[in-house]
Symmetry: C2
Subunit: 345 residues, 2 copies
DNA sequence: TTGTCCATTGGAAACGTTACCGAAGTTTTG
DNA sequence: CAAAACTTCGGTAACGTTTCCAATGGACAA
């Protein structure tokens, strides 16, 4: 099978390689007739430029990477879909890479960047607990999307971030539950390492309780130290079983992710507890399925589409030096649905 | 920021570039002392080989591509996660690309292969209705995973395939429903183009009914021509509403994917129909969540892990010419759960 | 006419790596 | 002890692009 190169095309058209290159890349200094001739030869022979050669010659590849921790999470696949479309629009390719639970995101990023000479990085999920020094080593701009809080001692000028105010939104959910008459509110946190979203949402939970004069009861806080699949449904199921095993009474259960909540649903059901009659159940994220299951899940909906678009736009703006690093916070939406009810007086 | 190249490392160690190359690539013709010296310099200076240069020099990149139609489908993300791990094990990188609904998978593949000089392609989902001629143009081995039926007139030697026998498994589900006393069984098919999995599963449905002497009633078959998001929950919801609107009575509803079934669940609920008391509901795929929602969903579980592993293994075997193209069919598992019941006599 | 400028082009040097070839030194063989 | 074989290495030519620089020819101004 004959795979033409730029040289072949040049020979076929009786022009120099640089002219062909100009044609491909829409350079201005080229006669439109020549260009048309070249383009038609390219079509005819099915020539496709070799990406490796291009990227080698260019100082940097026309590509960015998306690093995700937990690709199975529907919340992230939603984001990824949008980000990919946005990249395509800009004729950039998107390298999608999965970070294992035990890998350090910045280390992985550094390796990928050097290997592929990428222009930028988007971190999805994951944790942000890196030293400023390490971050500085990352030579390309990067945007943290929905990645928990970032330690105060790290300069905000080093990175961008896109997220909702997890602590605040979480508090809003709990406040809603309190207003609905709940006082014994249990919480399911998959992990609550310092700086993680789990931690932020847990903090928000505590904030709300305190604001309403309700003591935070550690017996109602269920967190697993399991490092794998933090937000898996299985984890939600197992954690809830553990919580129920404590024999502590509660009228509402707030899971810090929808997937956890779905797992919890089953555990509650198996124990004979009905949602919402016996226990109000709430989640966080607002993934599609929460709207379809029965009962539909009360949750905090993050503006996925908007966040994903802005994440991409911001990254490209920074790459093009049109802007400096930014930190954008979005308004999430409290969706009250069937899984939670008011406690009757 | 200084980014060392192989030349820099060579200079630092006082050796030739080829020696450094030998060290990096575990070539045999190198003194272990020299190698150790080089490797430590590499670590010290944080040298990472440039992938583009490597791929340019090598005839083909150490990479494969996974082309997915519908990345939001949890069934596929499950497959992808496993495939990625398998690639990592073999020190190959995996290019993940999403095929838009209106794109031709083989065209996309061809472009990607030429651009990136990949060694192989995995198609996930999508449709297989391509001419043999077109397929032949694809110069690298490719494996179709869970991609419907393939027209008889295409030589089996041109590609590999990995799937369950969709028609057979689908029939098994419907047979189970019939044995449970259901005779009015409606079916939800997102799309049923020739050769699609939807079509196969619909065929299986018809097979089972006929085998039991039940007439296939077109009024119980609900298919959408909507080309976007075939298997989305929303589609399941809307289709079911449409089906219910017909006023046709049925005791069981079989959706050809779990996501469709979840959508159906809501539509049934809104109409006041209880699952499973009023309508038995069944899905297909066996994604995680079917086990956690209430009621848990009766479904056909495809052996995702095994299929994904075999898909990758097979592709690499073909690339290495250890084997020819193969066609593997897996046994799926009928999981009877809470969403379906026997019709009382 | 002569010189300047513009539009368009071709040549060639890089980009960072791998792989071939041959050289040098060392060990084994006859 | 010479020849042969084996180890270990360095030099260098590619791989397919892009980009700089110089060259050509024609148009236009002086």
């Amino acid at each position: 099978m004959f795979e033409p190169t730029i040289k072949d095309i040049a020979k076929i058209c009786g022009v120099g390689v640089s002219t062909v290159s100009r044609a491909i890349n829409d350079h201005p200094d080229i006669n439109s007739e020549t260009k048309e001739k070249i383009m038609s030869a390219i079509r005819e022979y099915g020539y496709v430029p070799n990406d490796s050669a291009r990227n080698l010659k260019r100082v940097d590849a026309k590509a960015i990477a998306v690093l995700v921790k937990g690709i199975a999470n529907p919340f992230f696949t939603g984001m990824i879909t949008v980000i990919e479309q946005e990249c395509k629009k800009r004729h950039y390719s998107m390298e999608l890479s999965h970070i294992e639970a035990d890998e350090d995101e910045v280390d992985v990023a550094q390796k990928v960047v050097k290997e592929k000479r990428l222009r930028g990085i988007i971190f999805l999920g994951g944790l942000f607990s890196h030293s400023e020094e390490k971050l500085k080593k990352l030579t390309v701009p990067f945007v943290f999307s929905t990645a928990g809080s970032i330690p105060e001692n790290i300069s905000r000028k080093l990175y961008s971030s896109i997220s909702v105010d997890d602590r605040r939104e979480s508090a809003r959910m709990v406040e809603y539950l309190i207003r609905s008459g709940h006082t014994r509110i249990a919480i399911l946190v998959a992990e609550a390492q310092e700086e993680s979203v789990g931690r932020l949402r847990l903090d928000g939970y505590c904030d709300a309780l305190k604001a309403h004069g309700i003591a935070v009861d550690p017996k109602l806080i269920c967190q697993t130290r399991d490092d794998r699949g933090h937000f898996s449904m299985e984890n939600g199921y197992l954690s809830t079983q553990k919580l129920l095993g404590r024999g502590e009474a509660f009228t509402a259960l707030y899971a810090v992710s929808d997937t956890l909540a779905i797992g919890a649903m089953r555990a509650l059901y198996e124990t004979g507890l009905r949602v919402p009659q016996d226990v109000s159940l709430a989640g966080y994220d607002g993934i599609d399925m929460t709207d379809y299951i029965v009962p539909s899940l009360t949750t905090i909906r993050q503006p996925v589409e908007e966040m994903a678009k802005d994440t991409t736009r911001l990254l490209f703006d920074i790459i093009a030096k049109r802007t400096k690093h930014q930190h954008i916070t979005y308004e999430a939406k409290l969706l009250v649905r069937e899984s939670t009810i008011k406690i009757p007086e």
